[in-house]
């Protein structure tokens, strides 16, 4: 069973030779091989080479063609501030003034900002790893992209004051995600990871998720699936239990759940959805290998018997994580072989 087959089996709750393991290694791959984060998120070749070296080093089951949360908004017209050792941030928002909404254009992934570099990375990863390993892309979910286009405070106030207008921003963000996600599939990713931490109940209440976000996520996942995505994978950070019941309707097939969610509660709320999570990201920086091994063993004991589980972190593994802690997680998945 190769990595891709293992993950496909887990998604369908079929038997696997071992539990698949996908630490969310993004820019940690750059740190691991001695590249700067700044180079990693600007150059598709560098990103792909770092990911290839990281998977060769650790031996987990997926690689990520993923740069940062500023990629889409930059392609739409926001200006980012870059630094060498941290992820870029938005310096000027493309939709600083809501009156500019009608003038926004869905960016062409082959021409806009760093999107072509990400597609290059996806292409290299697929060429090198073929169908042995899951190649994961990434698009921002509608809520997170809306906040990246407008700034978080403006976006949230607009959502409350002019919900119809905010709905149009979400529709635009969904169009961007669909266009970029389909281009990633075309370039070689098996599945674009939908990253929507701002849809968390820690940011907006569950009723908001139901009324504003559910239909947009449904449209996004439906389009990605029709475009050939292997599975619909959603990450929403924080205490997301209250919105888990909406996941099946949205079309979610893999639910990444954060460290603050009780694993068995997640399983109870999502009995037919493949789960992946949920080691606390900071533990990869601060804990010992013994702590990580014990935590992984606990998760495997709870979730592996029922199948439909991928051992993972609750969110991104911080770039500065200790490599031995990532290795400990991968080893834990093999302890069951």
């Amino acid at each position: 069973m190769n990595s891709l087959q293992r993950i496909q089996a887990a998604i369908h709750f079929e038997q696997t030779d071992r539990v698949p393991v996908i630490p969310q290694v993004f820019a940690h791959a750059a740190v691991l091989v001695g590249k700067t984060l700044g180079a990693y998120i600007r150059d598709g070749e560098t990103l792909a080479q770092c990911q290839l070296k990281a998977i060769a080093h650790y031996g987990y089951d997926a690689v990520f063609a993923l740069m940062d949360a500023g990629l889409e908004t930059e392609a739409v017209g926001s200006r980012l501030l870059y630094r060498n050792d941290i992820y870029p941030c938005v310096e000027r928002y493309a939709l600083d003034n809501i009156r500019d909404l009608d003038g926004l254009v869905v960016p062409d992934p082959n021409l806009s900002g760093r999107m072509p570099e990400l597609l290059k990375a996806a292409n290299i990863l697929r060429r090198e790893l073929r169908n042995e390993v899951l190649i994961v892309g990434c698009v921002l979910g509608p809520m997170t992209l809306a906040m990246q286009l407008m700034g978080p405070e403006k976006a949230l106030f607009l959502a409350a004051d002019e919900p119809d207008l905010f709905g149009r921003v979400l529709d635009f963000a969904t169009d961007v995600a669909i266009s970029f996600g389909l281009a990633q599939i075309e370039a070689g990713v098996h599945t674009p990871f939908v990253f929507d931490p701002s849809a968390s109940p820690a940011v907006v209440p569950p009723q908001f998720f139901r009324e504003f976000l559910l239909s947009r996520l449904k449209r996004l996942f439906s389009a990605l699936k029709s475009g050939g995505s292997l599975s619909n994978w959603l990450h929403i950070a924080g205490p997301a239990e209250t919105i888990f019941p909406y996941y099946p309707e949205a079309g979610v097939e893999i639910a990444n759940f954060d460290y603050c969610v009780n694993p068995m509660r997640a399983r109870k709320l999502l009995p037919e959805t493949c789960l992946n999570g949920n080691i606390k990201p900071l533990s990869f920086v601060e804990a010992t290998t013994g702590d990580i091994s014990a935590e992984c063993a606990g998760l495997l004991a709870q979730l592996a018997p029922g199948r439909g589980y991928i051992l993972s972190s609750g969110c991104e593994i911080p770039p500065e994580a200790k490599p031995e802690n990532v290795a400990a997680m991968v080893s834990a998945s093999r302890a069951k072989e």
């Binding site: 050792d85 941290i86 992820y87 900071l282 911080p318």
Partner: protein
Amino acid sequence: MNSQAFDRLIKALLDGDQSVAVAEAVDLRNAGVDNEQIIIGGIETAMGKLEAKCTVEQFNLLEIMLAGRAVTGVIKALYPDGPPPATRETVALASLEGDVHDLGKNIVKTVLLAKGYRVVDCGKDCPLETLIDKAEREGARTICISGLITSIMPLVRQVLPMLQIRGLTGIKVLAGGAALKQASANSLNVHYVADSVFDCVRYLEESTGQAPVQSQ
């Protein structure tokens, strides 16, 4: 009659309905209620109810932001020539250098202002020296650091030693935010790690009042 008007004001604040809240506050003042009573009976009561709600139910930023905006609107209407003098201690607030996220910091600021604290907002991406200089100059009794990225943790750990070098040993240091709240107070070398904005307020009230602060 005033009791019903206070109830309407509190409801509008909790609903985050700024225009209704301002109208109710102005009506109360026109009916002869003084500003201080409106703040104590209206704003502080509403913030207490919001805190209680966020403890029992799911805490979400949107609700807090809307209530905060309504509170700001009411204070502006009551004090058109500038905010009233703070009734509580000074708090210096920042996101540290390298962290450009300030939504969490701004929410803490709004809630602290509504509670009567004097807030010195040192902004986002704030160098450590700047934060400590301002805290010293403004006589802050507490420094609150909001952090969304783990890479600022080494900076957070330096705050207390730098305060000690300057002889500012009376200043408490609090941390919070999505990244920092994953860590313990010991590992961050701070006095307290707050789980939410209201947890932050509780700590401030307890550490400057009589009630002892529960250790984490």
